[in-house]
């Protein structure tokens, strides 16, 4: 890695170091129930929404009512989005004259944007109308992110509240998240992005004549506003097929760094919010430290191996960075970013639930691509998606105190709440569901001829492409490895099923755990209590995360990226 690469990584870390306490503290006030900054501006808007939708802002819900609200809101949202896609040819704001989206693709896309996955089996600039992008996909970019944040807030309340049967109102949490957090930041971020060259218009695509006499159609659209919430909400769905590699979406090295900062901002700030709300900053810092270690180790690994060059090129080829050469493994990467900064965005995107890419993951070295895969296999906790990252990490924290309890023979506790048989059953369900669907669907698909027909590369790399697709869908990441045709009825349907299960079959047990913990009385810490706000606990958390992934996925990783790495170097 060059000094420039280290500098860029350092800038992201410094920017996050400044942002996390500010945004984390702000979100604690938004979710804390008292007064929050800019109440005068936001309260009238929220009250208008509450009156319009007949929401009681002081009303509270039990966990199951909360879950039913989430499921009803999501189910109706998915059907509406599906309808918009199917009928877009008859709706206004269609300057590119896009026809209705085919049913399997429309369903896959509806599931994808509803679940914060943003997997795209289509070319956005030609398939989706401007109306579909604006009132369908972009709206889901906001509300799917807000749903994730609402769920983690409920889990925090469950841990913090004492003998409480209610955990807040989904409708209030959803409204406050969108109005007070996502909208203001994304508006400012969109203006900054547009200021640095990201396009923003509502005109039809432009056809230009190239110097060699060919015709080329240039995409247009509201890219700046889409780009900001795409990253901020850890969504990842691009307005162009090349996603953040397209210069209209991500024109410069600065915008590349800015987008990395945006996608990491909320996931890293939420643990700070957690520490503030439970009035023990160390609890939040321990979780934050575990997330940060997993993120930085993954990012450094990918950046280093990609900056190191491609071992398959002839020995005489110069791949060393210099003043006249970008250097590194540049296949599938943009020269304006360079190998390591491209790798930093892809690694950060797979560490969160963001499907954005600024380079082709399929062209990464086997180890580089393997780390991107492992980032998702962690269950999106490093730092994970907005909300989903922290609730995933808190579930792992409960598993960690349980394992520690087994070691020393004590009843596990977390924040004074006893973690008992019911919670551990739900934790087990949470942890087993995603690996089961990834490995199950990948195994079935690789054994079917229609599954293998979608793989463009044979052997170990082809297996990685297949496993990556199901890992990305099931963990609601949305990034594509490429070299894989997901646009078939079979994959549109199976990947859509994985996205839905990977989202809602995890949200339900998380809410149930919150409900169970919320009605418990906290027990005072004793000599037998494992301190959970310490560096030791953060280390235990990292260890448990790595071991769980290692034990679950190592066989398929050995057959995929690891085998390819050893074949390359044999």
């Amino acid at each position: 890695m060059s000094a420039n690469d280290w500098l860029q990584l350092g800038l992201v870390i410094v920017a996050l170091g400044v942002t996390v306490p500010l945004l984390g503290g702000y979100m604690a006030k938004v979710y804390g129930g008292g007064s929050a900054p800019l109440d005068r501006v936001f309260s009238p808007v929220e009250n208008g929404i509450y009156r319009l939708c007949r929401i009681d802002p002081k009303g509270e819900q039990r966990w199951r009512t909360y879950a039913l609200s989430v499921l009803a809101f999501s189910g109706i949202s998915m059907l509406v989005l599906y309808g918009i896609e199917r009928l877009q040819g008859h709706l206004p704001l269609d300057p590119s004259h896009a026809s209705g989206v085919p049913a399997p693709l429309a369903w896959n896309t509806a599931a994808s944007f509803l679940t914060n996955t943003n997997w795209q089996n289509y070319v956005p600039e030609t398939v989706m109308s401007t109306l579909t992008s604006m009132i369908g996909l972009t709206v889901q970019n906001f509300v799917s992110a807000a749903v994730g944040m609402a769920i983690v807030v409920v889990l925090m309340r469950g841990l913090i509240r004492r003998r409480s049967s209610t955990l807040g109102s989904f409708w209030v949490d959803l409204t406050r998240t969108v109005i007070r957090i996502l909208l203001p930041i994304s508006i400012v971020a969109a203006l900054i992005l547009v200021g640095f060259g990201v396009i923003q218009d509502l005109t039809a695509p432009v056809t230009v004549h190239t110097l060699v006499g060919a015709h080329q159609t240039l995409p247009t659209g509201a890219m700046g506003s889409q780009e900001s919430i795409k990253e901020l909400g850890t969504n990842g769905g691009g307005t162009t097929n090349a996603n953040s590699a397209n210069p209209f979406e991500n024109p410069t090295g600065f915008t590349n760094l800015f987008e990395i900062w945006l996608l990491l901002m909320i996931p890293f700030s939420l643990p700070w919010t957690f520490g503030k709300l439970c009035k023990d900053r160390k609890q939040g810092l321990a979780v934050l430290a575990a997330m940060a270690v997993l993120w930085i180790v993954g990012a450094l690994l990918v950046m280093n191996v990609e900056a190191g060059g491609n071992s398959q090129l002839p020995k005489g080829v110069n791949q060393t960075a210099s003043s006249t050469l970008v250097g590194g493994n540049m296949e599938g990467k943009e020269i304006r970013f360079g190998a390591a900064p491209s790798a930093l965005l892809n690694s950060s995107a797979t560490s969160t639930s963001t499907g954005a890419v600024s380079s082709a993951s399929d062209s990464y070295t086997p180890l580089g691509g393997g780390v991107l895969l492992v980032n998702m296999m962690f269950g999106e906790v490093s730092p994970g998606g907005v909300g989903s990252g922290l609730y995933g990490m808190l579930i792992l924290a409960m598993l960690s105190v349980f394992i520690a309890g087994l070691m020393v023979g004590r009843t596990p506790e977390y924040l004074g709440k006893k973690i008992q048989a019911a919670e551990m059953k739900l934790v087990a369900i949470y942890i087993l569901i995603v690996p089961a669907i990834i490995l199950g669907f990948a195994a079935v698909s690789i054994s079917l001829s229609k599954g293998r027909a979608s793989i463009f590369n044979p052997g170990t790399h082809g297996l990685t492409e297949m496993v990556y697709a199901f890992t990305s869908a099931s963990n609601n990441n949305g990034s594509a490895f490429a070299g894989f045709n997901g646009a078939t009825t079979y994959f549109n349907t199976t990947l859509g099923i994985c996205m839905l299960i990977g989202r809602f079959a995890l949200i339900v047990p998380v809410l149930a755990i919150a409900g169970s913990l919320g009605r418990k009385q906290a027990v005072p810490a004793s000599a037998g209590t494992l301190p959970t706000g310490t560096a030791l606990f953060a280390t235990l958390l990292v260890g448990v995360t790595v071991i769980i992934v290692g034990l679950t996925y190592f066989p398929v990783l050995a057959l995929g990226p690891l085998a390819e790495h050893f074949i390359f170097h044999s």
Binding site: L68, S74, A103, L406, K418, A421, A422, L500, A505, A512
Partner: protein
Amino acid sequence: MQDILYIAGTIVFFVLMVVFAAGCERIIGAADGDSFPGGLPDEPTPTLEPKDVAR
């Protein structure tokens, strides 16, 4: 026809999630107040004193 299948499939999925939520409620309800039966003790185990270890 495909539209009907996908819309019906979506509704069935969310109904299944409601049933799943009811199952989770049963897990919580069944174990309400229980600890680990025959497993870990509720109360912290007394810490061994150095003299006990020596003995």
